[in-house]
Amino acid sequence: MGILEVKGVNKRFGGLQALGDVNLSVAENTVHAIIGPNGAGKSTLLNCLVGKLIPDTGSVMFDGQSVLGRTPYEINQMGISRVFQTPEIFGDLTVFENMVIPAFAKRDGSFRMHAFESVASEKDIVAHAEEMLTEVNMQDKIHMHAASLSRGDKRRLEMAMCLLQEPRLLLLDEPTAGMARADTNNTIDLLKEIKEKRDITIAIIEHDMHVVFSLADRITVLAQGTPLVEDSPEKIRGNPKVREAYLGEAA
């Protein structure tokens, strides 16, 4: 029994069957990669996990509890964090403030009216945020407006925000797209390190096979809304169907 159990999920957009009977089980403390051609429904699947979309049918269980019918913030409070395909950050705020918010969310839950303390006096929160920024190597950008970061940095910031919450399940939608090779490697290292340090399950969508094969314990290949195969990385690499439909010469 995995920490995340997706059973018989369907999702239609008008005439398009974006997800057709998806079953997926992600085991605890593993990295599970979801790959597949563009438009296969990978992001749609993640959307169903975090409450952005509600599947037409099927069930999604996280740690034995259904996530369906819950709002995104409740799902996050259950321990699921997500990095989006196009970075979702607080553009008007500074990098530091971007980090502080998840720290509060983690400590205080979904709403607390702390209107008279000052942010600066919350020593633990500040320390936590700064520490995480150092980990992703962004301490020099701490006072920049998030909107004026370059694209790669935005992604790193978003990932740091999610990691700071120490989620039990981290969903990454193409976290290294547009990242420089060096940073991609750093990201891989970071994820590995974090996985070693704490209990964390990661589901990752990626087109960069280097990333996928360096991290993944298991891989699901999604095509046209249905899982094609699920297997270990080695097997997937050798699978001719996958090679033809998806990997091309990259394999």
């Binding site: 607080f90 705020l93 918010i101 509060f104 702390h114 303390e117 942010v119």
Partner: protein
């Protein structure tokens, strides 16, 4: 100190000094001079400056931080005023219960209106609040002043009559709003220094003290985690949601707080002048609050107060300059010249004060996108850079800002 950082503390102290010395600062001209027209240091206007300042500070907590543009805040102002006058009618002229009740009632109203309106965002939210406010206005102006259950006294405005119960009223207390016998309308000191006159009014200092308290609270709020969350709401609600935070209670709390600020302002208005009219709730009044905030600089701490002062100054000072006054000003000139100048200035003052206000709105927002606060900052920078060497810090020889090559 007081949990503020140095910059905020300085700001608070500056504001405190300015408000406490306002009777001097606002009356810079001797009474008999031609410029006396521009003096603003009389009790009513000073009270209005601070009361509308409080209103705008409260509005800014909602709009400046969360970006939710309420077009119905005047409703809370009106509710606050009605609540206060009802307290005068039922209990006594003491302002304490009146102010407390106006804050509470406005708070309750804002829970109701906020809960419903906040189900939508953006322009839809604005229109919802506008609709609620316009309904409140219509109800107050006519429906609720129906003689059978006269809650608002309609066009005339709610006021205290001799036959009202006033159950806590005792002999010896003044028959005007007072703070434990200290009448709001009285002046505790009237100073005459040479040609100058300065009035120190009880009501003004009560309002000023309250302003300082709520200003302090708003600084704390701006710098607090709660304030940060509100700014996050403005920036990206999606991300907030996916970070495990529900934006709703934050925005609702901001809405209620700003509604209570508006109610407080309404209660103070009634305490300074015990009559509550329905026009206070009209959309134009709500629009005025919006304009004050943007004009001063939305999202800044002091901006809304400046904006409120600016608009109220025009309303009260410029509207009173008539041709007679103009002729006095220019009387030192030769006759033809005098008439010509009066002719030129005439359309912009007195009954033309709206025109001047409109033009200034356009100028300020076009040239100072951040409102008056930005104007102040630019001025400050100008003054500061004077001291330095006139050298362009950005590599002057290599890329001057204007070049013949690049057309913008």
């Amino acid at each position: 100190m007081l949990g503020l950082n140095k910059k905020d503390m300085t700001l608070l102290i500056v504001v405190a000094i300015l408000t406490l010395l306002a009777p001097f600062i606002l009356n810079p001209f001797p009474v008999d001079s031609g410029m006396a027209q521009f003096n603003a240091g009389y009790p009513d206007l000073m009270q209005r400056f601070v009361i509308f300042g409080i209103l705008a500070i409260g509005f800014n907590i909602l709009f400046g931080l969360t970006g939710y543009l309420s077009f119905g805040h005047a409703a809370f102002l009106g509710v606050g005023s009605y609540a206060a006058v009802w307290m005068f009618k039922l209990l006594s002229y003491n302002v304490v219960p009146a102010i407390l009740f106006s804050v509470i009632l406005a708070g309750l109203f804002s829970v109701l209106i906020g809960y419903v309106s906040l189900r939508r965002s953006g322009i839809y939210f604005s229109i919802l609040t506008l609709a609620f406010a316009q309904m409140s206005f219509a109800l107050a102006y006519s429906v609720l002043s129906n003689p059978k259950f006269n809650l608002t006294n309609g066009e005339t405005g709610l006021q205290v009559y001799a036959d009202d119960p006033q159950i806590l009223h005792r002999d010896g207390l003044p028959d005007v709003p007072h703070l434990f016998g200290w009448a709001m309308r009285d002046n505790f000191l009237e100073l005459k220094l040479g040609g100058w006159e300065f009035t120190f009014n009880n009501g003004y200092y009560l309002c000023a003290a309250i302003l300082l308290v709520v200003f302090y609270l708003s600084i704390r709020l701006f710098r607090s985690p709660f304030g940060l969350m509100l700014r996050a709401v403005k920036s990206n609600q999606q991300r907030l949601n996916y970070t495990g935070l529900n934006p709703k209670p934050y925005t609702l709390a901001a809405f209620i707080i700003s509604g209570m600020y508006a109610g407080l302002a309404g209660g103070l208005l009634a305490s300074m002048d015990p009559l509550a009219g329905a026009e206070r709730m009209q959309w134009t009044a709500s629009g005025e609050i919006v304009l004050m905030t943007i004009l001063g600089g939305a999202g800044t701490l002091i901006g809304p107060v400046l904006g409120a002062g600016f608009i109220k100054y025009f309303e009260n000072i410029f509207s009173k300059i008539n041709d007679n006054v103009l002729h006095q000003w220019f009387s030192f000139m030769p006759d033809g010249m005098e008439d010509f100048l009066v002719f030129i200035v005439h359309p912009f003052v007195g009954k033309g004060w709206h025109l001047t206000l409109g033009i200034l709105f356009m100028l300020v927002v076009t040239f100072l996108p951040g409102g008056l606060v930005e104007g102040g900052q630019r001025l400050g920078r100008l003054v500061r850079s004077r001291g330095k060497k006139p050298e362009d810090p950005k590599d002057p020889e290599h890329h001057p800002k204007e070049t013949p090559h690049v057309a913008e």
